[in-house]
Amino acid sequence: MSRQNRSGLSRALNIFGPFIGLVLVIALFALIPEVQGRFLRMANFKSVATQSVIVALGALGMTLIIVSGGIDLSAASNIALASVITAYAVNAGAAPAWALLFGVLTGGLVGLANGALVTRLRLVPFIVTMGMMGIARGAAKWIAGNQKIDAPMTWINELMAKSPRPSWLLMAPGIWIVILFAAAMAVLLKFTVFGRHIFAVGSNEATARLCGIRTDRVKVLVYAVSGLFCGLSGVMEFSRLTVGDPTVAVGLELDIIAAVVIGGGSLNGGEGSILGTMIGVLIMSFLRNGCTMMGWPNYIQEIIIGAIIIVAVAIDRLRHRKEC
């Protein structure tokens, strides 16, 4: 009986656990009188959500990769490259829909290249994607001619507008896109054979192979899908900036990875969830937003976010230990 209870409690902790961190962060700022009123407003929440879109899309793909036991350091460069390609296409007169497609596919191609290198050459993902990080960033600068690419405004730029055109959308279309894809990926991970195989590959690759799972195919797919998400994220970045900027998002890969890990992903593979990741993204965004609102200097912000990453993971760790 008591065991039953305990497992019920731990299950509850497991479901609500990830939210605790988020609630704590929001509560923290909501309690500071100085910013209270401003912080808790709908407009601010919307703006935080919009700021989160780019990291969130990258993190969706990164979750798949991390669950499969990999890592992708090229995500941020890939985002920059896709944003440049989209701007280039719009600028060259392509229809916005085509430009969007090009951007997304560019991301997908980079991801595919990552996957192919990881599986064909049997290299550790850390190295492959670290190399790809330089390659994609260099390519972005090359294509953009070391400059921002100015592009005429199109409906692509509406995707990240805080006050969306059909006003019944309430939030930027980008946010809805994230919600949609997050739901889709959560279902993919939990309820499909492919999702199961991703977990298996991350948990024990040798076993997965011996059980007849085509581990290489799983990995290539995971990297390719993740690349597509980076591409979409790049399109959103372009939408937000209205220019294609090859220097954008430097170092963002660490934010993306941090979001996944704060959300319970394990860099050893086999663990992670979309819900957790999304909460991780929001935690980071709210922290940045709150710190700026408080007018704290940037270095304080850097220190706090560094500390929070450690604390969040430590709490997650404790939670897991209790459980077993």
Partner: protein
């Protein structure tokens, strides 16, 4: 990239190789300097090698670049030092190897260089403060959004701005003054957005360089404040010029980077030919507004012709 050399290449004599080393390679500002340098190179018939630090704004990497060019044995160097002290030693090494150095854009301590060709950055900040103060009638709540920790030229602009506000417009209240926009447009965008969430009643903003100006412009546009508050920025790009025309930006302090690059190369070549050169050359700053933006000289500065750089 190496430029095709001018008429003297066919003359058979060894063409001079001039290394031009910016602080970074991806801002439009540096593109203009590049364009100016290339124009001077064409006119004088010298090779221009354009090469910035591998990582934007990294002092250590810029030292490496200077050292590598000394190793390569170029004839002269035009350098925009990322640090007024850190670059002293490599510049001295160059002098020892008889490679003259002309410093552009930001200052350098010591006397091992031939000439200093630059904008008066402090004055740029002063111009911006006056514009903002006048438009607000000397009263109001404003942001000073800084660029990045440790960047000397923008620090001077920020100082010029802050000092002038303190001295001439005591009625202006600077709400925020130690927030840094960071290296990219996106980081500036987020910062400005968050600041606006916190202080929606802000009346004026100053930003000290192109990326912070553009990021802030995007944030103002998105929150519907563009044109409603007084916004003075620094440097130009097509989107900023558009903003100026639309009334979203009330003033852009612009420098003359092309001239900086042009004069930098001219000066170093003159020195190599044994001609006397000025120790300090000011390339000037002006304030572009909606009213004067179509005047030919301002227009040329706002939308520089970059067509001659071929990469």
């Amino acid at each position: 990239a190496k430029e095709p050399s001018g008429p003297s290449a066919t003359a058979g004599a060894k063409t001079l190789q001039i290394a031009v080393i910016p602080k970074g390679t991806t801002h439009e500002f540096w593109k203009s300097i590049h364009a100016g340098a290339v124009r001077a190179g064409r006119e004088l018939g010298v090779d221009i090698i354009w090469k910035g630090p591998q990582k934007e704004d990294d002092r250590a990497q810029q030292i490496t670049v200077v050292e590598d060019f000394i190793s390569r044995g170029v004839d002269g160097i035009v350098l925009a030092p990322l640090d007024d002290r850190a670059l002293m030693r490599p510049v001295r090494d160059a002098a020892r190897e008889k490679i003259p150095v002309v410093v552009i854009d930001s200052g350098l301590q010591g006397g091992d260089y031939v000439s200093y060709v630059a904008t008066d950055n402090y004055k740029g900040g002063v111009l911006a403060a006056r514009r903002l103060g006048e438009l607000l009638g000397g009263r109001g709540r404003i942001f000073l959004i800084r660029y990045q920790e440790g960047s000397a030229s923008t620090v001077q602009r920020e100082a010029g701005f802050a000092d002038t506000v303190a001295k001439e417009f005591p009625g202006l209240e600077i709400l925020v003054k130690d927030q840094y926009a960071g290296a990219t447009t996106e980081t500036a965008y987020q910062l400005a957005e968050n600041l606006i969430s916190r202080f929606p009643d802000v009346q004026g903003v100053f930003t000290p360089n192109e990326s912070s100006t553009f990021g802030t412009l995007r944030a103002l546009q998105e929150s519907g404040l563009a044109g409603k508050i007084v916004f003075v920025g620094f440097d130009s790009s097509p989107k900023l010029v558009q903003g100026l025309r639309d009334g979203a930006i009330q003033g852009l302090v612009i420098q003359n980077p092309a001239r900086m690059g042009y004069l930098g190369v001219k000066t170093v070549v003159a020195h190599l030919k044994g001609e006397p050169v000025e120790k300090v050359v000011d390339t000037g700053v002006v304030l572009a507004t909606r009213d004067n933006m179509d005047a030919p000289d301002i227009k040329g500065l706002l939308s520089p012709d970059l067509s001659n750089i071929a990469d």
